[in-house]
């Protein structure tokens, strides 16, 4: 193998990749809208639907150590007993299609995409 380590041309390619990522980000941000319903899935099955217009706390019967919090139209994993806490660190979500995932507990929190819009 006698490839070079780095070429000046690479900077252009890297810049193009970063630009593509940025455009993708803008596109996703622009097209995503506020959702009003969140679903909680355990092992790919919906176990609970939460209305984001009412502030509540919810904990699944099967997993009492996991707590979800609905606050001001957003929802998050507030507490979880998993080791990595990726779900908790994801923070609040409120846009359609957004998800927060807890792989160790096989839990998915997602904002439902195709509600009928209700203007408040």
């Amino acid at each position: 193998m006698n490839n070079s380590f780095f070429k000046v041309r690479d900077i252009i390619i890297i810049a193009a990749i970063l630009a593509a990522a940025f455009i993708l980000y803008i596109g996703i941000e622009y097209t995503s809208r506020q959702g009003y319903t969140a679903e909680i899935l355990l092992n790919n099955e919906v176990i609970k639907t939460l209305d984001l217009r009412e502030d509540t706390l919810y904990s699944p019967e099967e997993l009492p150590h996991v707590v979800f919090e609905v606050k001001e139209g957003s929802v998050r994993f507030m507490e979880s007993d998993c080791p990595d806490k990726i779900c908790v660190n994801t923070g609040y979500i409120n846009k359609r299609g957004q998800t927060a995932v807890c792989l160790p507990n096989r839990l998915v929190l997602r904002i439902r995409g195709n509600d009928v819009d209700t203007v408040l």
Partner: protein
């Protein structure tokens, strides 16, 4: 290289891959986004594809996935396997198209990005979610982490290749 030395050398590379992935899982993750990782084990895999062979690099990734499945559960195993295999396939593809016209740095970045994309695909299938929203973040993190592992690869190359010279490949 004699058969015994070859087996020993490959065992050393596999050990390095596993030790690096364990070491990495011990580091605190510095972001909230799953999948934003350094990918230290990729250094060894890339070294293998550049200097040993393509089959061996694929085998290394499969073995790494099996190890992740045994120690951290099936989910981690599938994630590791999907990311690793897509990453190595992209690197092999780029190498066969561009041969020596593509730099190590770019290959390393391409490997890191495709590793992340492989994991997104695996998560989407396993949990029925659309993880594509993370795509921009994971592409950027792939560029950053790929650059870091690229530099590390360049630094470690002489060390890793030392046994190859010693026995006169």
């Amino acid at each position: 290289m004699s058969k015994t030395k070859y087996i020993t050398y490959m065992a050393m590379l596999l050990t390095l891959t596993i030790v690096l992935s364990i070491f990495e899982s011990m580091l605190p993750s510095f972001t909230a986004i799953p999948g934003v990782k350094l990918g230290l084990a990729n250094i060894v895999v890339m070294f293998t594809v550049f200097f040993i062979g393509r089959k061996q690099a694929v085998a290394l990734n499969v073995a790494k996935g099996v190890f992740a499945a045994i120690t951290r559960g099936a989910v981690a195993g599938v994630l590791s396997l999907c990311g690793g295999l897509l990453s190595i396939l992209v690197i092999i593809l780029l190498l066969s198209i561009f041969k020596d016209r593509i730099s190590y740095m770019l290959l390393s970045i391409a490997g890191a990005i495709s590793h992340n994309i492989g994991q997104i695909i695996a998560v989407s299938f396993m949990l029925n979610v659309y993880a594509y929203m993370y795509l921009p973040v994971l592409i950027v993190s792939g560029v950053v982490m790929g650059s870091v592992t690229g530099v590390l690869l360049k630094t470690l190359m002489p060390v890793l290749a030392y046994p190859l010279k010693e026995v006169g490949k």
